[in-house]
Chain length 380, copies 2
């Protein structure tokens, strides 16, 4: 039996619903995956995170191998035990972090040497090492080590990054030694449709159990993202899950679902939540605003999250106003619940055959007024 079953297909777009099987349980797609870079979604205890409707969370290989280190995670019995999270986990390979966060000393076709942002210590990573580290961390879904080029960059640089990403994907696949994990390939190629197509085709030859689209949401803009998505996804096999990395706003996600994407992660709900911005279906609101000083209503009247069921806007404003942790905690919780609600609505509308009209209606919604944030420093 395939690990990914498509349960519904939209007649008007490439959107679909599915079920992805993993060692720690099944995931209903399209799915939003909250980001827990350093083995915790900031401020949220795991049982609370689960109650928001989270099916799977992300952690980051780059960060985990530097702190606390893969040996420690292994001794603790793996990432799930460390995090006290018994549902699926996905580890990003760290490719993005190496190329965006670290001071790179030396980059070659084999690997990359950089200075740890924690203590400046030299670290060398190559696809074999990264795969081995992820095998040992023990996430349910792991990612190939890729080179994520900056945007914009020269054609030469872009070609080089794609070439290395393909070469490294082969090595990752060969090195992968933990059959409890799905190893996903990552497509690079900037906004160059030909390069994206080439990269996708090469990765598909390697027959990964899932494919990711990397290197988007780095400042290329909505139209470029949409066009690139279409030209990438069309070369992917239908029966494998597709994951758009680091994206994005509600509008980005709906567009990507229409293009056939199944999985998403983004720091927007949590990072914005910590900065007092709450997502609502009437548009985002800033809880520091003095307009809410006496507002006895919840952030969203029909939201079932713990924040909305228990706290008024005025109370949340108060917590932010006096610098209490509860402000960031409550809004992180609500915003994650909002994203899961968004995914639920997407699934329902695909199931009901109403996805296209709903998406069109949504595109007029104030909830879509949130701007994309370029992904720099996107590791939370």
């Amino acid at each position: 039996m395939n690990h990914f079953i498509i349960t519904a297909k939209d007649k008007d777009s490439s959107a679909r619903c599915g079920v992805l099987q993993t060692t720690h349980g099944e995931i209903r797609t399209p799915v939003f995956m909250p980001v827990g870079t350093r083995a915790t979604v900031k401020g949220l205890l795991p049982d609370r995170l689960e109650k928001t409707g989270s099916q799977i969370v992300l952690a980051n290989t780059f960060h985990m191998m530097l702190r606390p280190g893969v040996e420690t995670v292994e001794k603790l019995g793996g990432l799930h035990k460390l995090m006290a999270w018994n549902k699926p986990i996905l580890t990003d390979s760290g490719g993005y972090q190496v190329f965006s966060l670290a001071k790179i000393n030396r980059k070659g076709d084999d690997g990359v040497e950089f200075a740890s942002p924690y203590d400046g210590k030299k670290v060398y990573l190559d696809p074999k090492i990264v795969t081995n580290v992820q095998n040992r961390l023990g996430a349910d879904i792991i990612m190939c080590f890729d080179e994520c080029p900056p945007f914009p960059c020269s054609q030469q640089e872009l070609h080089k990054a794609v070439e290395r990403t393909i070469r490294w994907a082969k090595i990752c696949k060969e090195s992968h030694a933990n059959q409890n994990q799905h190893l996903f390939g990552i497509v690079q190629g900037g906004i160059d449709a030909n390069l994206r197509a080439e990269c996708t085709k090469e990765l598909v030859k390697l027959d990964f159990p899932g494919y990711a689209i990397g290197g988007l949401s780095v400042g290329e803009g909505y139209e470029n993202m949409k066009n690139t998505l279409d030209s990438t996804v069309s070369f992917m096999p239908e029966n494998k899950p597709r994951y758009l990395m680091g994206v994005g706003t509600p509008a980005d996600i709906i567009a990507a679902v229409a293009a056939g994407v199944d999985m998403f992660d983004c720091v927007m709900p949590t990072r914005n939540g910590r900065n007092a911005l709450a997502f609502t279906w009437s548009g985002p609101i800033r809880l520091r605003n003095s307009a809410y000083i006496d507002d006895t209503s919840p952030i969203e009247a029909d939201c079932d999250c713990y924040c909305c069921k228990n706290f008024t806007k005025a109370a949340i404003r108060h917590f932010f106003n006096v610098g209490e942790m509860l402000g960031p905690i409550l809004l992180s919780l609500h915003n994650i619940a909002f994203y899961h609600n968004l995914m639920d609505k997407i699934k329902q509308n695909i199931d009901n055959g109403t996805f296209k009209s709903w998406a069109e209606q949504m595109s007029e919604s104030p909830a879509f007024k949130v701007k994309s944030q370029p992904k720099e420093n996107n590791d939370e």
Copy 2:
């Protein structure tokens, strides 16, 4: 029926167990009350706080009247609604905060004018205003406005503070206009046994539903505290609850229970938790210590709190090491649970008639090695 029923008395000391009735439910004493100065116990969602065994929490009148302001709290339907806490709440009067935190402009027999530590704005407080504010905040137990003198201070200053505290207690009693609330008197008098006795007797004449001992744990030391407690409590009626404010270490609490005290609050579990110190029955441990880097055991094997049931020492160390909120959250949670466990053991030993031998045995315990912290800046 009395609002306070004594259910067990220790034969060897003044320790007792009781049940205190309030508008939001009953409280089993001796009780530890976690501190939620600004209407939140730092980092803990209310349902999680309740699961640690918390029966009642503190909030602070001084802070609440400055931020978000009593009008706002009233509009939100009172403190319970603001905090999303439907069990008992106690508000401290703010006397301690005025005299320890604020820049005082003018102090007289009638009241005190000070600069708000938030924005420098002039604020005037007197016993009538403070009582009215507390009536409107709506806590179940409210406190008289007292003058808390520094330690050490001159005899003249101490006399003056006691005189004002008594005078103000009368005004608080007369102004008190919310019969859903118990108004407690506060005894001052430093470590002067005669002054404490005098202050207690005068307050007892006013017939409050409970009596607090203020002005201790301000640097006077364990022996001074114990002696002062004895000379104060002996003048209090037996059938009223007694509350030792801002105390303390496990050793302080056991000594005070032996002296006949029923209620305690202290920032030690939460403030220490945020600084990576965990209370255990084998003594306090510091989770930043590299000794715990690979430690797969929980903080305390037989502790039932969410932290101990789910997280290893190594994981908690990791969260502190990388500056994640989950570290402070987990240890605040555990330390509050530890304090509630301490109170449970106290209650059981009083019930079983074994309190004295247990307390003696405990005084040898490494859990008692925690030092008192002078109360300066004790508003969290």
